[in-house]
Symmetry: C2
Subunit: 294 residues, 2 copies
């Protein structure tokens, strides 16, 4: 039976470390890290995420600013907001909550963010620097997975790692990160996706499997080998009449079956998910310390 | 017996197409593409490369400028040269020939180049955009390999591809490019390197093998399956008394053995090598057309 990788507890531990560091900075007369969040429109999920980020800032002692705009804000006006945040000295880092209304190009907005303040790590400069092994803001989910591997002291060197799903925000960056000559890294990574002919034959030989395709319970027990480390990135709402809210959250891993064979496994919820906020806080701390771009 | 992928002929064909396009542009009263090359010091190989690039510009009808500096040019002065080239409207793209003398940080120089003029594709913005599937200058060797696969109509969709070597300029970008949802691409890529435990067991199952580790004749016949497509990126000078110049050029593939089993194979020399200049010309043409950054 696998050991459960506890993302909630790990995230809390990281937040506590950040809070400790902030106290120190303040004691030394330094600048309080300041994160700003831009929220466009009134999508419920986005509001919940942004509120969570603001609350997390309070928890660790960061300053935070929330900038809300109506969903009909013209693209040009939002780009001006971005320019302003780029030039606002007190703001160390900021995020523009996605998705944006259809009339606004998220790519245009992302590329307008100053890379030095792009604590979401979505700007091409940060992606490129990450791939080149230069200091960079690593985006929330990949960063969270690296931290979980690290905190649970999971050996990655020379391990065969199968990643399922090639998204820009999880699968592709994870494949680059775990291929790098460092820890966690030095894995032999195989990146699988919708055109892969036989995922099972690959995943069954892998020491580490990262499921990030967004298909509930895709990875079944027969698809992993004994002792594998299994990271579940999926979170899909599946209708469930027995739940008050009418749905259950399902990962990409058939948990009961896979947990029986794996050595380590992340649950859903409570695995990778809670780590994303810790990542954002960590990146903001780095930004305020000018640790990535000097 | 494998079909030989002829890089020399393919490169020439691309150069002829570019020359044709330049004629058209000039006929239409458009701007002649202009490539500049910066050469620091008097390294013989670098001089040869740069001369080759200048000659290729002449061949296709580009304007070219060669800026030569002594090897003791201060870093700050070279950065000023870069700034000047960034602001010189007539210059569409330029390269700074590597390696640079030890007192100059190549990374600093590369990051100072305006991404719009970075026809070598080394700037983090171009690397990041490439990984994100956005329009970008793709660096010479990966671009050359893509073109060879394309021109020889090699089927890549759903194919298992093993890349040996994770360098920033070949292995890593190739793994990203061939994983993308496009053609050439949609491969299931496994990226191998010095920490990979058993390369042979992986390469032997691959439909496409790209050897880019810089170890002469590393890939032997028993490491590939029948019908595999084999791309050899290695070029190492191996002492050879029977040659006038005292060395022979060896690829990473044991050609005779592998050619017997492969369906397609690139020779060394005459395979991937000649493609790099065609890539540079193509990127410069794109720059002059503002096709990547509009």
């Amino acid at each position: 039976m696998a050991e459960i990788i506890d993302g909630k507890a790990t995230s809390l531990a990281i937040k506590d470390e950040i809070a400790e560091k902030v106290k120190q900075i303040v004691n030394d007369g330094g600048k309080v890290p300041h994160l700003a969040a831009v929220l466009v429109g009134d999508d419920g999920a986005s509001q919940t995420y942004v509120n969570g980020k603001v609350k997390a800032c309070e928890y660790v002692g960061f300053k935070s600013s929330l900038l809300k705009f109506d969903s009909d804000i013209p693209e040009e006006d939002l780009l001006e907001v971005v320019d302003k945040l780029n030039n606002e000295d007190d703001i160390d880092g900021y995020i523009v909550q996605l998705p944006l209304p259809k009339h606004i190009s998220p790519q245009k907005v992302i590329e307008r963010i100053k890379p030095e303040k792009d604590v979401d790590g979505f700007h091409p400069v940060n992606v490129g620097r990450m791939v080149l092994g230069l200091p960079a803001y690593i985006s929330a989910t990949p960063f969270g997975i690296l931290k979980l591997l690290e905190r649970y002291k999971i050996d990655t060197e020379g391990k065969e790692c199968v990643i399922i799903g090639r998204s820009d925000i999880v699968g592709t960056p994870m494949s680059n990160l775990l291929s790098r000559k460092t820890y966690p890294g030095n894995c032999t990574v195989t990146l699988c996706h919708s055109r892969t002919k036989d995922i099972k034959s690959l995943s069954r030989n892998a020491d580490i499997v990262i499921a990030a395709l967004g298909m509930p319970e895709f990875l079944t027990g027969d698809m992993v080998k004994d002792g594998a480390v299994v990271i579940d990135v999926g979170v899909t709402r599946v209708p469930d009449a027995t739940k008050k809210r009418g749905y259950a959250l399902k990962g990409d891993v058939k948990f009961d079956e896979v947990a029986e064979k794996a050595s380590y496994i992340t649950p859903v919820p409570g695995g990778v998910g809670p780590m994303t906020i810790a990542s954002l806080l960590y990146n903001t701390l780095m930004a305020s310390q000018k640790a990535i771009y000097s």
